[in-house]
Subunit: 152 residues, 2 copies
Amino acid sequence: MNGGLDAVLRLVRAQAVLVKRFDASLGGLHGVSLADFTLLLRLSEAPGDRMRRVDLAEALGLTASGVTRGLVPLERIGLVRRDPDARDARVAYAALTDTGRERLAEMRATAGRVAEEVFAEPAWTEEDTKLLAGLLGRLGGTGIAGQGPAGS
Amino acid sequence: MNGGLDAVLRLVRAQAVLVKRFDASLGGLHGVSLADFTLLLRLSEAPGDRMRRVDLAEALGLTASGVTRGLVPLERIGLVRRDPDARDARVAYAALTDTGRERLAEMRATAGRVAEEVFAEPAWTEEDTKLLAGLLGRLGGTGIAGQGPAGS
DNA sequence: GACATCTCCTTGACTGCTCAAGCATATGGG
DNA sequence: CCCATATGCTTGAGCAGTCAAGGAGATGTC
């Protein structure tokens, strides 16, 4: 029996469940998907709240075209602005607008609440959650620093 | 700081990476996606290697239409057969063919190998992998034995 | 300064799923 | 028996992503 394969299949399943749950809350309250939220969150972590679209793609694990398509609705509803680069006419930054920052704070609260619900359900301790995040960090390459649990 | 939200975002990221990796190997060697493989695996776990399509959907966390669409190519390449029910003309079983069983064994070997690669990379112990699987089982509700509340 | 080449980004065609609608069949109540 | 309702499945439209192709601008070489 291959425990790793089992873990992978469970991970895929868990992801589907979680994404549905977050999409429902974020969509209902703020009109955005979890993917939208993640994108905005990345932008908010960048200096000046803006990134080149190609770097955003890299950071999110998407292709450039995925980012182009994902940004369209966010620009339309005014959460993200398209910013040209003075030096290089090829690049267009995606930048968080003031509205985007405000709305993002609300979304973060919603997402945080959902996460608390998820990890409160049966018997999740703070330790468990951290442990899970650490293990997942080793798998995904989030771009954010994060190691696994210390080697006991 | 919400550690749960962090864990969720990492999980989503890890899933994307893993799915790409498995799709590449399974697609290259056997012409199927990870989703196809998961579907076949479920079938192989059912008594008689067959399930009603509606139950398959439930087991996979998909909708009925997702199953209908996913089965089309598998029927076309002869891994799955469509089996009517003698008692109820509405139901159509999805059943693994002999070819399907054979090919599935090969796919399982491939997937197992990829899983080993994934979990060998930096410093995954057997313990870590089991731990991860256990934590994920609490989140996802795999339908396979394991714990996890029925939830909403 | 002109050409080849590289980078950033967008677009068209496709895939794999969703939801909503619909068809066919089953089932229980008058 | 006949009708209302429930169930199993398929289909059309749409959405979010992919890849492949291509346009526009930058850059290095001679």
